[in-house]
């Protein structure tokens, strides 16, 4: 049967093309080379970190993150404070009272945003 013949041939083929174990000295050689590469990469990374600290172009990302984060927090305070504008206006006796209430509300919101964005909360 052709199918059986092929199956039998595949068994012979598997035996002929058996996996070959690498010589032990090759393992040691490759591991040594990779080890030195890893060390070199670690040194390079360290040097890069120091260079990055000195190069103002690399301050851009963390600085941008702070700016974006602050803007977002400020935006949140403004939105939440404005949302309650009608309530404050109705409760205020005069313009001075309204300004005082708005300031107090904004301060309360700032505290809430700081608490919300503190890590570990």
């Amino acid at each position: 049967m052709p199918g059986e013949r092929t199956a039998e041939f595949e068994v012979r083929l598997s035996r002929a093309l058996a996996p070959i174990d690498p010589p032990a000295e090759l393992e040691a050689r490759v591991e040594d080379t990779l080890g030195s590469l890893v060390d070199m990469a670690a040194d390079e990374l360290e040097a890069w970190e120091l260079r990055a600290m000195r190069d103002p172009r690399n301050w851009l990302r963390p600085a941008a993150a702070v700016v974006v984060g602050s803007a977002a927090a400020l935006g949140l305070v403004v939105v939440r404070t404005r949302r309650r504008r009608h309530k404050r206006r109705a409760a205020a006796v005069n313009a001075l009272d309204l300004a005082g209430k708005t300031l107090k509300d904004a301060a309360k919101e700032v505290r809430r945003v700081i608490e919300d964005t503190t890590p570990g909360r």
Partner: protein, 187 residues
């Protein structure tokens, strides 16, 4: 024009990456070596090819891992070995040596039964493998020496699963014919 700041992994990311590469290396050293050996036909060049494969893999590991989408990286490793082997032949203008080093396959544990007939049979098959076109030979090495499935072979060779299945089928049939012819009318 200002260029974007260079992005480097952090120290922790690098350590994790190195540990993952080490386990990839341990898992597939034998695969890469077997593939290299059957491609170049001698231990000396197979060792060089294996070393070069892992050095190149190390350089591109981070990207390969990112792009692999969780799929196994063995086909990627074998593809590196495949490309390096192609350069090896191109640079040195040589073809795989025929027959494959006697010191290798024919003295490895699977041939130690001491049966002359058996050894001759295996040798005929190995010689036949070297006569196959490159893509068919590669597919057979990946399937039988490395135990890769169709999908893995397809990824390593940059083909579709269907095309790989056909390639393997034709490779086996052609090799069977070559071996039959070598055995003669009584074989």
């Amino acid at each position: 024009m200002a260029t974007a700041p260079e992005q480097q992994p952090t120290r922790e990311e690098k350590a994790k990456l190195d540990a993952e590469f080490a386990s990839l290396y341990r898992a597939h050293l034998r695969d890469v070596y077997s593939y290299s050996y059957y491609r170049v036909g001698n231990h000396h060049d197979a060792e060089d090819l294996t070393e070069q494969t892992f050095l190149q893999a190390y350089r591109h590991f981070e990207r390969a891992q990112r792009e692999s989408d969780g799929r196994p990286l063995r086909p990627w490793l074998i593809r590196i070995a495949h490309n390096l082997a192609a350069n090896y032949y191109r640079d040195r203008s040589r073809r795989p040596q025929t027959p494959i080093d006697d010191a290798g396959v024919l003295s490895s544990p699977h041939t130690t039964e001491g049966l002359v007939e058996d050894r001759q049979d295996l040798k005929r098959i190995l010689d036949g493998v070297q006569e196959l076109p490159d893509d068919r030979r590669e597919a057979l090495i990946m399937r039988f020496a490395l135990g890769m499935d169709n999908r893995e072979i397809a990824r390593a060779l940059g083909r579709t699963d269907g095309a790989t299945k056909v390639l393997l089928h034709r490779a086996i049939r052609q090799l069977e014919e070559i071996v039959k012819k070598a055995e003669g009318p009584t074989g």
